[in-house]
């Protein structure tokens, strides 16, 4: 299978990339690591007129500190995310979830920003970004703007990115001393999540002071399990309290039915996985 012909641009700066997107015609696709886009183009489910390849835009790679946040360049590969010391210290949930993405070959090419901008409901990183209150810095012809995670994921494979815009970096608030865990259920030969749960928990004096929970593949976009978060706030950190709170995990979700799982099974799974994710994050 071979993609349909396209014009190819390989910018080396964000400004050049914006220019290439602006002058690429009606149907432009921005390629990050290409690990979702190239398969889709091979199947001719996408046949863009122009592909703008960000692989050589060096300023979009790497992780840095900026006051109370770490800033992850959109083109930072999954492999680099997994081994990054700032992520390990301030947002280990990201590294843990990224380790479950695809396989080592795909993680060498695939990128943090690419996975977020692709916004596949079965992808692992959107729910993590949502749970951690990440902010998305987007560059466009008129300058830069920042979109909170809660507004970035709009629908199935659809984000707040407008035509002509490029996701440049993701700001993640530092959370030192939080317990975090990503609990995922998937087929062995396919790393896409059937359901997964991202949990971050702050404990204080034997209680759960605060919990943040993101759900993967429980609807067309990642979701926060707000009912569980509210039920956990201030409870004693015990297995019983966590199980009682996790029973609310399916509230407000809208999971699909597909070859892997029916919707009712997903609603069951999410309660089990939430209990496990929160228990591990809370050190129980």
């Amino acid at each position: 299978m071979i993609p349909a012909a396209f014009a190819y641009a390989r910018p080396t700066t964000v400004d050049e990339a914006l220019q290439a997107v602006a002058s690429g015609g009606e149907d432009v696709k921005i390629m990050a690591g290409g690990q979702s886009l190239i398969p889709v183009m091979r199947l001719r489910l996408a046949a863009p007129e122009t592909v703008v390849d960000l692989t050589r835009v060096a300023e979009l790679r790497g992780v840095r500190e900026d006051d109370g946040a770490i800033v992850i360049g959109a083109m930072t590969t999954h492999s680099d995310v997994i081994s990054d010391p700032l992520i390990a210290r301030y947002a280990p949930l990201i590294a843990e979830a990224t380790e479950t993405v695809a396989d080592r070959q795909v993680r060498h090419r695939g990128t943090f920003g690419g996975a977020l901008a692709h916004a596949d409901p079965a992808g692992d990183l959107p729910a993590v970004a949502l749970a951690l209150d990440a902010e998305f810095v987007v560059a466009g012809p008129g300058g830069r703007r920042t979109v909170p995670a809660a507004e970035f994921f709009v629908d199935y494979l659809t984000t707040a990115l407008e035509e002509g815009e490029i996701l440049v970096e993701i700001r993640v608030p530092k959370r030192e001393g939080w317990g975090m865990h990503y609990e995922k259920f998937n087929r062995v030969a396919q790393a896409w999540s059937i359901v997964a749960v991202a949990a971050a928990v702050r404990r204080e004096d034997g209680r759960i002071a605060e919990a943040r929970i993101g759900l993967t593949n429980m609807g067309p976009t990642p979701l926060r399990a707000t009912a569980v978060e509210e039920a956990l706030a201030g409870v004693d950190a015990t297995a019983e309290a966590v199980a009682a709170a996790a029973a609310h995990a399916a509230e407000g979700t809208d999971p699909s039915s597909d070859l892997n799982a029916q919707a009712d099974y997903r609603r069951h799974l999410v309660t089990v996985l939430t209990r496990r994710a929160v228990s591990t994050a809370a050190g129980l």
Partner: protein, 167 residues
């Protein structure tokens, strides 16, 4: 057409490619490197795995034009020039890490990449490390043994005694 310069298995090439040409097709059809195979064509099976600047990638999911200026190593480039097999190739041979052999080029390239990051992987770590490579003869048992034997040979230590029945 785009012009690319690329080093493949130690030899430099300059070629014109269409932007839509996949790296695997460039390797096989323009350079004749047919040791790298196309398995699934859907980025699942890993049979087309090569090293791009030292990292294992699926060459069906990289554009040839993206390899411009890079170094590519295929299964054809890992044996010594006198024909001595790479320790990973030798171990696959000795441990019978293949049945039909179709997944083998990709398995070996992924396994070399894994051992580069983790010189002494446990059985579980090998299984995780080659999760991007599918063997449909169900031959993973001996593949895992081969990777562990090669890892020890590459480190210059003896492999642990294999346990359990031969799969």
């Amino acid at each position: 057409m785009s012009q690319i310069s690329v080093r493949v298995d130690g030899v430099s090439y300059s070629d014109d490619v269409e932007p839509r040409t996949l790296l695997v097709h460039y390797l096989r059809e323009q350079l004749g490197k047919i040791g790298t195979v196309v398995g699934c064509d859907t980025s699942n099976c890993g049979a087309c795995t090569v090293h791009l600047d030292g990292e294992a990638v699926k060459s069906c999911t990289v554009l040839a034009v993206q390899a411009d200026g890079s170094e590519v190593t295929t299964i054809e480039g890992i044996a010594a020039s006198d024909g001595t097999l790479h320790p990973m190739q030798k171990a696959f041979h000795e441990m019978h890490g293949l049945q039909c052999g179709f997944c083998t080029p990709g398995m070996i390239m992924a396994a070399i990449d894994l051992v580069g990051d983790n010189p002494d992987p446990s059985e579980d770590e090998v299984r995780e490390g080659i999760e991007g490579n599918l063997c449909r003869c169900t031959g993973y048992q001996n593949i895992v043994r081969a990777v562990q034997q090669a890892a020890h040979e590459m480190q210059g230590t003896a492999a642990p005694e294999p346990t359990g029945a031969q799969a």
